[in-house]
Symmetry: C2
Subunit: 588 residues, 2 copies
Amino acid sequence: MRTDYCGNINADFIGQEVTLCGWVNKRRDLGGVIFLDLRDREGIVQVVYDPDLEEVFAKANSLRSEYCVQITGLVRGRPEGQINQDMSTGEIEILGKALTILNKSAVLPLDWNQENSEEQRLKYRYLDLRRPIMSDRLKFRAKVTSAVRSYLEGDGFLDIETPILTKATPEGARDYLVPSRTHKGEFFALPQSPQLFKQLLMMSGMDRYYQIVKCFRDEDLRADRQPEFTQIDIETTFLDASGVMSITEGLIRDLFQKMLNVDLGEFPHMTFADAMRRFGSDKPDLRNPLELVDVADLVKDVEFKVFAGPANDPKGRVAVIKVPGGAALSRKNIDDYGSFVGIYGAKGLAWMKVNDLSAGIEGLQSPILKFLNEEVAMSIVERTGANDGDIILFGADSANVVTEALGALRLKLGEDLDLLEGEWKPLWVVDFPMFEEVDGHYHALHHPFTAPRDLTASELAADPANALSNAYDMVLNGVELGGGSVRIHDQAMQSEVFRILGISEQEAELKFGFLLEALKFGAPPHAGLAFGLDRLVMLMTGATSIRDVMAFPKTTTAACPLTDAPSEANPEQLKELAIATLVDKKAE
Amino acid sequence: MRTDYCGNINADFIGQEVTLCGWVNKRRDLGGVIFLDLRDREGIVQVVYDPDLEEVFAKANSLRSEYCVQITGLVRGRPEGQINQDMSTGEIEILGKALTILNKSAVLPLDWNQENSEEQRLKYRYLDLRRPIMSDRLKFRAKVTSAVRSYLEGDGFLDIETPILTKATPEGARDYLVPSRTHKGEFFALPQSPQLFKQLLMMSGMDRYYQIVKCFRDEDLRADRQPEFTQIDIETTFLDASGVMSITEGLIRDLFQKMLNVDLGEFPHMTFADAMRRFGSDKPDLRNPLELVDVADLVKDVEFKVFAGPANDPKGRVAVIKVPGGAALSRKNIDDYGSFVGIYGAKGLAWMKVNDLSAGIEGLQSPILKFLNEEVAMSIVERTGANDGDIILFGADSANVVTEALGALRLKLGEDLDLLEGEWKPLWVVDFPMFEEVDGHYHALHHPFTAPRDLTASELAADPANALSNAYDMVLNGVELGGGSVRIHDQAMQSEVFRILGISEQEAELKFGFLLEALKFGAPPHAGLAFGLDRLVMLMTGATSIRDVMAFPKTTTAACPLTDAPSEANPEQLKELAIATLVDKKAE
């Protein structure tokens, strides 16, 4: 039906007759000549209809936006002055000779010239995706998955499918359930990740596995989450953490080089402890130059209890952020930041402006100066390296509150004051704690199959609180791109971790019996990682939401305005499944 | 941890020290020397431990089957007479110098030297997959998907993901349902195919789409079906049936060439009517040389009512199969085939042996000869081309019964008598009827989005019973590899098809409103096809079940003996989902 794509026609085609199919992007009548912008996946080309071909001209004149048409015409150079260097097809136009209307179009319910509501965009997603910015993102995503596959397959990885109808997995979020008809009263769960299956594949000797795979979490969709999302899932045998990190770092570096012509360089490594201390986050955005600077040792002996209290409490923290040029912040600005850190539990935001360093304490301006002697004040200034015109902002509270509040404040300041430096700043965060303690219970910081770092089972049992895991997260521009770990391949170690997590032997047997069993039969050392594909593509395309890099995402209430899913089920089918709903839809 | 894979070590490595990881496939003690077969994904290599390295020898002596080990040693040529040309590593062995036991293994619950029950194999799937025949199949499958992707991407197809949590689709089988927590009382359905989404993608101008994607059908798992299976899903815009067939035939031909070094040649085309008439099947196995031959016109006037009845009934059929050499079949054999066709509703199996063609009717042997005159008998023999030693088997009944019974008998004879010729016999079956009529109702033979062939909506409405669809099935060796069609892109046509199918306007609006709506906005002509990946890989690997080419299949009752899915759900979670089960598991 066509000889090429619209977007491919350029000066090389001059003098040739082409047949193209696509949509009317725009139709203009200029001085009795019809100009048509014809659009397909690869771009837009201009077609011109002269009135001397009466029948064709009349048809061209009847065209409206988004009609689907087939045209035949002669490619010719555009007249001097009409050349458009911004378009790949901008040097040529097509003199239309024939025109077939393949399908008409009603007026679109979306106006592409203005912002449309998310609900409307999703309801008419097939129209929203006609916008070049949207189709370009899907094309980009397809190229990313293709490049990922080719990199991994070139490195001996096998694409192996794991089940979607499976058993509840312990990732923490809620599972989606699927009632079984053949085993009434029982349910499958949709996987939150193929974690256990990929480990079993390593135990079966498949050696290197990858899969670009849908995962499911029935979470409250605050922030930018989707009920189904896509992972680049990787697992390897006989490799340690550095082996996996080297392969996966190579993959991302290769991807940025190929797709964006960006050299990410070698990724720095940072311990979890350093990341929390310096940036107040386990996924620091290194484009942001601000850092948290600890000053507890300097304020230990001041009379100001707000500082001295946390400074002398082993669970307290006193830290500051120096903001270059921040002395220009107004009182209102500072108050607003005070409210902002309040969200994270901070009780206020002490501050100190550096107006004139040469004047000593006289050159400082701060409501708390009266509580600090000159030596303390100047030593704080000195430690931060603050200069004239800077501001120092204080956090003093429990370590958790200070770290979280200043970590968040750091990001907000970076954005508000436009401080970000450089385009891409990747890093590895390593040496995570194995567990976090909440109310006397240990929780796995990654998941319960993560191996501790350099510890035997009995060493781990002796001091779980201080154990580090053999886990690693890849972070880019403050976004966690992926995370992974060396897995436990020793049955005694796995049982010990379950015990520390408070999982009884009976519960472990019920939930993970098959894993514990599998560890008995020569399970090999193995390690892996999973990337969030949606987030990766979002970052790479500069989109602001993962919804903008998915063909058919759901709303924040996990619904699809296009197909109207979810919807009521056929009562006959529910009967067959031996389930009943406890909601009377009609009564609502 | 290793320098290479076990299976890669060959004579090129002689004189080199290698470190390998893998599993003890076999350990033998021959004359005080330990011979170890070490296995990994790529193959098996022989390692030898001499007693002179005491400590290492003792460790090697302690090894048992399936221990996971790391070895270091020197590659050397095998002594004359011990060379094994059947193994890629058969010319060399490794003189073991170091040995680390990475993990011990209990005695396996599967005995690889004998047939294990399906239940056991699935329960210990990770061990079953260690068998080279199984891991080779998964490796082969990964190579197939890789080759498919590279072919399609090279041809401009974009890999685009469609939702798994979606709305009920009309493919006919039962949907799996997923209760929604945020929209209580409502359900998602898992897709039986991405049919409507891929059509919407064409309407959004994505032009060429493919996806290797999981699909779900909650069917009774008779035969070789799985609740989740994988499709190679393809859709194109601005191509007609021959365009899609050319691309997809090229894909399969390329795959057989690359993977099996087989040239499939050009695929013949056969109409549905011809396939049913000649082979009694819409997916004929062309390796089987037997054909159904119609003889109704020859027996119209005989007194034998069993033949004359159907021969004179417009809905009847009288046909025969000539079996070369079949005169050697015993009375018992023929009786058994008579019972076999009884399964398909045939009331008996008349037969005629050709003993001596030169003797005319005297040379024929048959219980029904007395009902036929010589001219009729000899004209039947002549039409089948039967020779001395052949048998002719008769079907006379309603057309459906004869076609189905003789179609099945043909396959059974082909197998029993080892008649299959050639290894690979692909073909296209085309010109299917749009609808089949059951009890006065029309059903879509493909699906309700399939376009009719060369008919307007009003022509279709005038005579639905005789309308042909623009659909095409690819068949290989009697297996339907894939099927597709040109889709309806015209709203009036789509509404007409829904009407013929007895779908009310209200129901159409409720179920497919979004599709009808989408057809309003310049929907382009589009067409596609979907292959069953599992069946394709099964055929190509010579496996006899799709379960043998899946990593973690389910049993015939849709259960997973490995993870014990499905299982009972947490009552708290059911409460959150606002559903209740109507089965008291404890009472059972």
